[in-house]
Structure formats: C-alpha cells, structure tokens
Symmetry: C2
Subunit: 335 residues, 2 copies
C-alpha cells in the first residue's frame, strides 16, 4: 500500500488560525476491507466552513478532533477497489480530507463525469459551492425578474455562482468584493451589473448608489460590518439568506446583528441554511448549473495551489480574503 | 349632529411620548353623506404599534400627520346611517380613532356579534391582538406538540392569546413578563408552564432553567435586552416570529440585533410580520379563537380606563409596562 501524507488538526485556533495549528504526518495506507476503496486525492477543496470545524464548540457541522485528519471535499481517482460499484480509474467526489490517499467504504464516494466538466469544476460550481449557491439563491431566496440581489464575497466560489444565477433569473445583481481587481472581474467577466469594493473608504455611499431601488435579496457570505452596510438598504418583504459569515468565524465574542426594528418595519425574512440539509435539491442544482456551465452562461475561475503542504497557508489566506476564485490544492495530476 | 371630542397628535415625540405630544379638541360632527355612517365610540383600543405611527419616519404602517386625530381600533354603535349595510344600534369594529364619534364610509366598519363575546373581547382576542397572536403563532410559527415556545410580553394582549394557543397546540409554554403579579397570573390563570420575570436580577439564569430543552419558537413582542437573553437558547431549526418590539420603539439609535453566527449554526428562521398583510387568514383566526374563548380554553383580562381624556396617560403607561391585560379606554356604556 502507498505511503499517505496527511495534515492533522494539532491545536484549536483562537481567532485566526496559524500554521502551528496544523501538523504534517505520514503513515502507510491500511489494507482494504471488503466493500472499501483506496482513492488517490487529485484536488482538495478549501472552504470557509472549515474554520468552524476546527473549534471545539459545535459549529454547524461536527468538529474535527485534535490529532484527526482535517476534513474536506476532494476529487480523486480510484486506485484499488474491493467494491462492485467502483473500479480503478473511476473519478470520484467525496469527503477525502487533507491527505494524499483515503480508504473507506465505496458508498461514501460518488462517481463524477469528467466529460461534463473538468475535475476542478466538481469542487466549484458542480460541488459544494455550486450546490450552496443554487439552493440558497433559487430555492430559498426565490428571485423574481427585476428584483435587486446583492451578493457578498462576490468573487468567491459560492458568490460567483449565486450572482450569475441571479443575473440569469433576470435580477439586477450587485456584488461586494475586496479590491478593484475582484470587482472588475465580477462585472466584466461574470456580468454582474455592478460590484462595490468593501475596502474602499466610500463603501457605504457606493453600495447605496448601486442599489437605487433598494435590496430585495441579500445572499450573504460575509456578515460583520459588510452586513451592517447592507441592512438599512433592505426593501419591504426582502429576504436575507445567510449562506456564510466569513467575517465572523474568527470572532471570539458575540457579534451584534442587524436591528430587528428594520426587520419588523419591512417584514424581512432572515434564514440560515446549510447545504447538507437540502440533499434532495442537489441533483437539480447539479443539472441546472451543469447545463449553464456547458452553455457558457456561467463562468468560473480557479485559484489552484500545488502541493498538500501548502494547504494551511492557502486556507489562512482565504480567511483573509487573499484567494481569487475557487481555492483548491492540486495534489497530483489526474486528467 | 353631536359634539365630538378628539385627541390629536400635536408634536412628534423624541423617545418616550409625553402628555404634551397630544392635544384635546372639540368640534361638531359633520353631516353624513350618502353611504356614510355616524358611529359612537364605546371602547378605544390602545396598542403598542401606535408609538410607531407618531413618528415621521415610516413605521410599518403609515404615520399620523400633526394635527390629525390619533388612529386606533374601536368598537362602537351606529347612531345614524345613510348606508344600506348598517342600521342604528348595530355594533361595529373599525379604525375609529381617539375620538367620541366618527363619520365615514359604512364599508370601513365590520359588524360584530355581541352574542359570541362581549364588546371588549372584540378589541382583544377577537380583534387585532388575537388575530396577530393566531396568525403569528399558528400560521408562521408552526408549533408542533412537545416543542418549547417562549412568549415575551406574556401578560399583554397579544402574548396572552399566543401563549394559550401554544399550550392548546401541545407545546411547553414559557412566558416572560414584568413582575411577580403578572408572572403568577400567566401561570395560574392562563396555564403557561412557567413564567420568568425580566425585571428580576437572575432573569438570564431563570429563563435558561425554564427551557431545559431550549427554545423552538420565540413569539417576540419585546426585543432589546429581553431578546438578547432569549437568543442563545434558540434550538436548531427554531423560529423567531417578530410580532412587536416594544422595548425598541422609543430608541432613537439603531438597536443591535441577534448574532447571526447562532442563526447560521442552528439554521434559525427570523420573520417579521404585520397582521394587515394577512387579511385572508383573519376569518379563520376569529373562528378558532372565538370557539376556544366560548369553551373557556382561552381566558382574557381587560385593563379598562374610563374617559377619553385618560387615553394619553394610559398609552404612555403601557409603553412602560404598567398595564395588566388588554388596555382599552371606555368612552361610553354600550351593551
């Protein structure tokens, strides 16, 4: 069996994680039992939710124990199989974790069709970020043509898909992103109607000017002071779909939220969701987003880092807003 | 035509209203036009939402203009009618305002059946507060047997009905009220399982102890620091139905709301509503609450003040939590 490289959770971070919270480890991959498969990781997805599972306190998904391999979605290739459903050479998607190889029940992997889209897309628009964008915006946000949709973290993996879906649904879409490069990309490449730089000194004024009819849907990935700026612009009967709160994940004290007087006055609905509770809607999301991707109506961008060793630094960079596109680690060439 | 006594909005309050914000006035009632009726006010309802309509800024219903009669629901008796639908002697419910008589289109009044319940009940469980409680708790909160429901302002006009409806729906109901008299009433008379005094020094601990399985529905009438105490106890998939925010109506600065990290972690739904947007559900609410009232399953209590002149002081007292039961002003004996 091959030697496995792994990255373990060594210490629970206080606030922003650092490299010392992770530990590199190596061990020989165990032999397969009946029904199991050995999968070689090709790409590992890095996502904001991983910050939550490093904490002891229950996040919206279970914590990683100290000394355990960090969890994460991967796409990989089957190397050995003792299950009828998987053959060596099959490309698969699943919770492989931050490691070069994983061994587990074949049933925990789903085969992916690399003819429909290349491997990295299965960690982006056709993976967790794409499902989250589709279910959150389309199923929970219910966009109607002519409505104004604001998407924060607009250049991120979820935001890019959510914003393009809103545009295709006939909405006016305004992104919020950090820096003029990202804002330009969001407007010029992804076709958002406007994008506002939250780091600019006139962010408040610029956002208000970009939504002359107010905001009907806020697809929120950030929270904190970005949401404070969005909130007073929310229209009557508007919807705030909370997909993520990256600005709050490293907070060690409770973070004051939006004034509910505005919610009552405008009959706003705020809803938090997690994609794992909407499994029944995922096949539809894959089908819809897959079609739009193939037709060129949805564009994506990957931010690919080479080598498992780079995962902690890339992850920390993402929490600081330094990635540009769907962040993933390439462990091996696969396709 | 009779002489009319009226209370007008003289000045917009800053923070808590005071008597000087109101003005007494007298004028002869105008002659009826075709299709109009003259209604003599018997009882005037005083409700927290009236604070909002005293402000210039748009509340959740339109503002009262300076010099205009304060708006308010009344029950009254038809004195003269030039409409086929109303006859002298009919008891009616409508937006009569803070005045002894009102003249207006007959279509703005709805006849009430004083055989089903006495007049004051039509301003309480069978009026705006009862409709609000029924639509907010039953239609928007969707209580399931065994769930824990927390109702703030539990001894108030809306809270008493909401809590009793939750009890009848098979929920564990915990009230929050100000002072031990109100708490005792809520438990002993209304059958809540517990009631916690928000003025007591150990309020936080007492509320946590009263909801050992956490909170599934918060029917919120108060906001502010009461909601801050409720919020960390909200369960996974819990619902926060915002019916009112009496603690925030007199705030002159934005009031920080609940930490959305908790909302995301527990997939909570927060919803603000106003009863006037749920007109289709009101007949069902009247029917359901009317039946429960007749069967003695829902009890009510009125806090009746005599004389229109007392309305401003009674209203200010209510905003300070001094009423006990549905607050109304009796202008004349009617039944």
């Amino acid at each position: 069996m091959p030697k496995n490289q792994m990255i373990l959770l060594k210490r629970r971070p206080t606030g922003m994680p650092c490299d010392e919270d992770f530990e590199r480890s190596e061990q020989t991959t165990p032999e397969l039992s009946e029904g199991e498969a050995l999968v070689k990781t090709l790409y590992l997805s890095l996502d904001p939710y991983m910050r939550g599972i490093m904490d002891q306190k229950e996040s919206y998904i279970p914590s990683v124990n100290l000394g355990e391999v960090m969890r994460g979605h991967v796409v990989g290739v089957v190397v050995q199989s003792r299950a009828a459903t998987l053959d060596p050479g099959d490309h698969v998607h699943g919770m492989g974790g931050w490691q070069a190889y994983s061994v587990g029940p074949a049933s925990t992997w789903r085969k992916i069709d690399t003819m429909l889209a290349p491997l990295p897309a299965w960690l982006g628009p056709l993976g967790l970020p794409g499902w989250t964008a589709h279910v959150g915006l389309m199923d929970l946000g219910s966009p109607k043509p002519g409505e104004t949709v604001v998407v924060s973290s607009a250049a991120g993996a979820v935001g890019t898909v959510a914003g393009q879906l809103a545009r295709i649904a006939g909405c006016r879409v305004v992104g919020i992103a950090g820096g003029s490069d990202k804002c330009r990309y969001v407007v010029d490449e992804l076709g958002f109607h406007a994008c506002v730089d939250y780091k600019a000194p006139d962010f408040d004024r610029a956002l208000a000017a970009a939504v002359p009819s107010g905001i009907d849907i806020n697809f929120e990935n950030v929270g904190g002071s970005v949401l404070d700026t969005i909130w007073p612009l929310m229209n009557r009967h508007s919807r705030l779909v909370v997909s993520g709160l990256i600005a709050q994940y490293n907070q060690t004290a409770p973070c004051p939220g939006p004034d509910l007087t505005v919610l009552l006055r405008n009959r706003i609905n705020i809803r938090g969701f997690i994609i794992s509770e909407h499994l029944a809607q995922i096949p539809n999301a894959v089908q819809q987003v897959g079609r739009l991707l193939r037709d060129g109506q949805i564009k994506t961008r990957e931010d690919i880092v080479d080598g498992l060793d780079k995962a902690p630094a890339a992850f920390i960079g993402m929490l600081n807003g330094r990635n540009f596109g769907k962040l993933m680690v390439r462990l091996a060439e696969g396709q």
